[in-house]
């Protein structure tokens, strides 16, 4: 089948209608992004932390692509984040190119690493994948540490001076340019990810997550899809790392450390997996919690984060969210289910024969 005929098929009939319905922007989503946009003017003193939130949000969206949609658990996603950060830092330091070129370079190198290591995660199930991804990140961290001539080793990459974006927008000490830049990049990549997850490709990923053996038997090329999404997610993580390097103008081994992989997993635990916004919402909650707890109890903020994590997991966040959303919908006027996802947690169970 030619690409043209395949495309015309995909665009036809129910398939196209399904994709259009799934891809439609809903009011809460529009409000979310309007709020993010408004924060540029409404929270001028908080641009530094908002920039971090945007970057962590993008990083979490990247992890959600593989964890929430394809079911690949990872404890080493910081490998791609770190590689992207170092790539962007080195491009800026040695070539003084536009930050956007740094982003492309970071995406390319991270995607290359993702593609190579994707063959490792194809094998085995959850525990194997956890160990393999953790191992890859540890190896990369040690390589970065040992290659001090290139990365600066434990001292970090010094002398990174970031040129103005498109030659016009200089980074400022208040983080305003940084936040607008990170938010714009995060938004663009989010829109692309959103389009991908509602496409037949995205649906097939969820089928693979549900049952890889069965997915293969109904014609889904499981390995090829997993390699593709892992590579894509690596590119996203690389861009997130590059944003951090560019907006802070510094890269250290911290970008590739284990805690980054753990943090982004925690962000998804807080926000939820499999709907992309979990990464963004989780990033907001996580960073604000971290900021707030660190200010009121500097020595014990990690204790509280840990406690919240335990409560969230034990209380079953999805169930809590479902109850809250059901209560909200019960109060909201208009047809039920109009704004929510078709496969939301409160779709009416089928009745009838069993």
């Amino acid at each position: 089948m030619s690409h043209a005929s395949a495309d015309s098929f995909v665009q036809s009939g129910i398939v196209a209608r399904t994709l259009a319905r799934r891809g439609r922007w809903r009011a809460p989503e529009i409000l979310f992004w309007l709020a993010a946009l408004a924060s540029i003017w409404l929270l001028p003193d908080r641009h530094l932390i908002l920039n971090e939130i945007a970057i962590i949000g993008l990083f979490a969206v990247s992890l959600d692509l593989i964890l929430g949609y394809a079911g690949i658990v990872s404890l080493g996603h910081a490998a791609f984040f770190g590689l992207g950060a170092y790539t962007a830092g080195l491009i800026a330091k040695h070539f003084a190119l536009d930050p956007l070129i740094g982003l492309v370079g970071a995406a390319a190198t991270a995607a290359a690493l993702g593609w190579v290591t994707s063959f490792l995660v194809l094998r085995g199930a959850d525990l194997t994948r956890l160990m393999v991804t953790l191992g890859v990140a540890l190896i990369l961290a040690e390589v970065a540490n040992q290659a001090a001539w290139l990365t600066g080793g434990a001292d970090g990459l010094q002398g990174v001076i970031m040129p103005a974006i498109l030659g016009r927008f200089e980074f400022d000490i208040f983080g305003t340019t940084a936040y607008v830049y990170s938010l714009a990049v995060t938004f663009v990549l989010f829109v692309i990810a959103r389009r991908i997850v509602v496409s037949p490709f995205g649906l097939s990923l969820r089928a693979i997550r549900d049952n890889p053996l069965r997915a293969r038997a109904v014609g889904i090329p499981v390995n090829a899809r997993l390699i593709a999404v892992y590579t894509l997610a690596a590119a996203y993580a690389g861009v997130a790392g590059a944003l951090l390097a560019q907006t802070t103008q510094f890269v250290s081994l911290d970008v590739i450390a284990f805690h980054r992989s753990a943090d982004v997993l925690l962000v998804l635990v807080i926000g939820g997996t499999g709907y992309l916004y979990g990464g963004l919402v989780g990033a907001v909650v996580f960073k604000l919690l971290q900021d707030w707890l660190a200010s009121i109890t500097p020595q014990y903020w990690l204790f509280w984060i840990g406690l919240i994590l335990i409560v969230l997991v034990l209380a079953d966040r999805d169930r809590l969210t479902a109850r809250l959303t059901a209560a909200w919908r019960a109060r909201a006027p208009g047809p039920a289910g109009g704004a929510g996802p078709a496969n939301g947690p409160h779709a009416t169970p089928a009745s009838g024969e069993r």
Partner: protein, 244 residues
């Protein structure tokens, strides 16, 4: 009539266990075959072997003249094998419509046509896979196989565990697919009387080998082989009389 499917001395199993061996089978274009047998005789393994999810131990499988013995299951599906597994295995986090669109391929069978065949699915199009009844899940499993636009449909005990009224609905749909649309099919079924009216030919499996092969009509007219190998009597059904 040209052979659509041909199995030559096929042997397969799981791990070290050999379940079927020496299977010779041919199926012509547009023909339907019933695979009968008691529990544990290798019926499901035979289908699984054609699909490619067992450990191949010998022999050759060809579809439309193409050797598919070494192909992965997804390549076999693309080559034209649509599978309705015994456990149905609907993708539970996808809606009915997404289950269909996730695997749909170009061809005569579209999602719309599947809805025409199973109107219940259209009513449930936005329900998740795990929110369907057993009958609806089976219809979705058949529909999911159809939108692949296969040349050969494999159905593993499609009526198992369903209410009689749903079985009738499903069998009527299968008759339409097989008899009216002329789709080749292999139907595994423990209950011969349910399926012989739908198929052209039948084989009986015992201990992983074919022990009897005959036209379905012959088995209905003379059920002695069924009594011998399955220990059951195939009753003549009014539906079958109409079919012939």
């Amino acid at each position: 009539m040209a052979d659509l499917l041909r199995l030559d001395r096929v042997a397969a199993g799981y791990g070290e266990a050999l379940v079927i061996s020496g299977i010779d089978l041919t199926l012509g274009e547009g023909r339907a075959l019933a695979v009968l047998g008691r529990n544990g005789t290798g019926k499901t393994t035979l289908l699984n072997t054609i699909v490619g999810v067992t450990r191949h131990r010998g022999g050759r499988i060809a579809l439309g003249g193409q050797d598919i013995t070494g192909l992965r299951p997804d390549r076999r599906a693309h080559a034209g094998i649509g599978w309705v597994p015994q456990e149905r295995n609907i993708f539970k986090s996808l809606t009915v419509e997404e289950n269909l669109t996730a695997v749909a391929r170009p061809g005569a069978w579209t999602v719309e046509r599947v809805y025409g065949l199973f109107p219940r699915l259209k009513e449930r199009c936005r329900n998740l896979g795990n929110q369907l009844s057993g009958g609806e899940q089976q219809m979705l499993a058949v529909g999911r196989a159809l939108v692949l636009n296969p040349r050969l449909l494999l159905l593993d005990e499609p009526t198992e565990g369903l209410a009689p009224i749903i079985i009738e609905e499903l069998l009527a749909a299968l008759k339409r697919i097989i008899r009216d649309e002329g789709m080749a099919a292999i139907v595994v079924e423990q209950h011969a009387q349910k399926i012989l009216g739908v198929t052209d030919d039948a084989v009986i499996l015992d201990r992983g080998a074919i022990v009897h092969a005959a036209p379905s009509r012959t088995l209905i007219d003379d059920p002695a082989p069924l009594e011998q190998h399955l220990g059951v009597t195939a009753r003549k059904s009014p539906g079958r009389a109409a079919a012939h």
